[in-house]
Amino acid sequence: MFEKNHLLCVYNYLKINMVYPEHERVGFSANAHYYYMLYLIDSSGPVEREIVSSHYYDQYKIPLNCGRRYIGPFKDLEELQGFAVKISEKINALKVFVLSAQNLSQYLDESTTLPDLVNKIITTGDSFENDETKDSKNSFFSKIFK
């Protein structure tokens, strides 16, 4: 099941009328499809907008400005996944699960209960471990038990 230090990211490939002049300066086009995170959430709730905005600015040098709900745009899936990993490092999450809205819908269709669904995401969904947190955790335990 999801643990306290897991992060969940759900994304979709959308065309949303939220590309502003500053986006166009860095290569985004209005009326085009891009990747957007729909949910970025851990056991405390959605990741704080300030953290997300700050990292987004670091990545693209433009403000995060696509309404209060979505995070994006991202030019491709790799950039989105990389962003998710950076956020997991920032909030010390052990692992981040990244799945598309389509995959999630498929899992929902195949599941009858919430634990079923969570199990499917954990066993078959894409995930990325936060090596920094894992290493620091391992070194902490290794100090205690050496």
Partner: protein
Amino acid sequence: MQIPNDLTSDNEKIFPGDNWFFYWKTSSALWRDKIAGFDSSKIVVPINWAFHTDNGEDFDFHHDKPETDLKRLEEIASEVSKKLVFFVPISPAPFLVGGGLPHILSRIPSISREGIQTVVTQASGRINKIYSFYDQRVFVAYRKFIRALGKFFSQNEMTSNLWAIECGFIQDEQFVSFFEDYSKAQHETFERFLAIKKQAKENNNQQVEMTHLLSSLSDEELLQNEFVTDVKQLYIETIKEFFPINYEGLVKIAFLGTATDDLFFKMMDVERQNKYSKDILFCLTMNIIPSSILLPSNLKKGIIEKQFKDLVSSTYLSFILGDHMYDMSDDTSFQPLTNFYLCHKNLMDYSQRYFWEEIGLYKYLKENFNWAYKINDSYSQAATLDETYLANKIYFYNGVDIYANEYFHILKMFMNGGKIVVENSSLDKNILKRFEGFFIENSITMEMINATTRISVGSLGEGRLVFFDGTLIQSLDEGKKLNFWSEIIATFDLVNVKINSEQGVDYLWKTRTPMKNELKFEEVRRVYFYNPTSYKKRVKLNWAKNFALLKINEEINSKVQHEPNQSVIDFLPMGSVSIDFGVFY
């Protein structure tokens, strides 16, 4: 995370809350005892379409299963002095399996705006999948069912009131209907709608290319909005047609715990009580009925239960159950206080929806006039021009949303003493000229103020019309945005009490007309405070000269103390209190 053993008692499965009765969940032989033993004299009965048919063609109202005999149910209720009200969904209903569709019609899953299959997780952890109402077979079958149900009501002379209900949830301070669906069925029906529109234009000798019909993203969204409204109206008209005597109207019901967000929060075990508390208050400002029937038992208690008792049962349920016209008690005559209306043409246009947030107005209103604002879809805006109604209210318009109808409505409000604020950077040039022409013809001097941005103000009696350029506001920092709005709103002389509350405490103002012994006041206001958090909190109310303290009601886990020029309320976790004020203008 584990599925909790389903702790819902048998009685809670039949009476899930909010005066609802699920007649299909118990034997009809037990109806009398169950209904007679229910606390309230008023009971809401939602109709379960799938329970009355297996094949969508033949309907059972008392033939096979005695539990389908709604006439018998009405008779029993009358015999034990209970009043029934029937609810008929015009959208997928999250409290019914499959959203309420008979199994044979549950073919095409409904898809949310995020592109995720729409599901609702029950308290037991089971996933209830919702199916599309845009499937043509569904509407045809729905119409057959409603016709049969209407005939049954009529032949049996059933007199109970019946309401159409649109089911939804609250997400991002919006009501999202379960009718909203982006499935294949919806897409195919939308394509047919576009073809009909194109045909209609061609029949009117208007040559039009499909690409021109959808020349911009916002055009497509406007057409989507029109399409969804039209399809929904088909379902509503079906009920009106077959229940000419019983039909009372349409209500929107927001079911707490059923938002798309809730799926994720449940997976991550995130505490949501704060969020549900806010959702209840939001619903009240939007004339939406909040419902707790799908919350787990443990979440329905405490603050949520108190809010329902204070804010929901005494107003909306009384209205629905027909008592409001006759009950003149103190509680039922309070209505949510609304000072601000933010008017949007198209609530589905994301960029416009967040416009007021980008220029800092939302943040200002939340901090200073919590929940005293409403977001209006100008399509449904009532043409209320009564002077009394317009007093102490300010209407906000984004220029891009102002077309001919809105232009005339704004002028009528202005001439009747209304107060309107218009962001004019995106105002159509012709509409702007018409405004200018109106001011010249009526010798209204526009006062120009160059503050943080360009502002021009016109006055006519009590009426005020303020134009401002929002593009300069967007680039300001948060503090300057708040200052800007503070200055603008201060010029309208609204009366309110300044409240400083710690984060987590929520409050809502209600208002009513004075009673016979309160005639020295213009109105009586009540503020309800709730602390749904697990922490102690403090709130300070700064005394305003227009307000006289009348009484403090029900201090629960809270204490009110008066200091010079202010009152201080200390809350324990899950504390609440309400305070009445007489208001002078």
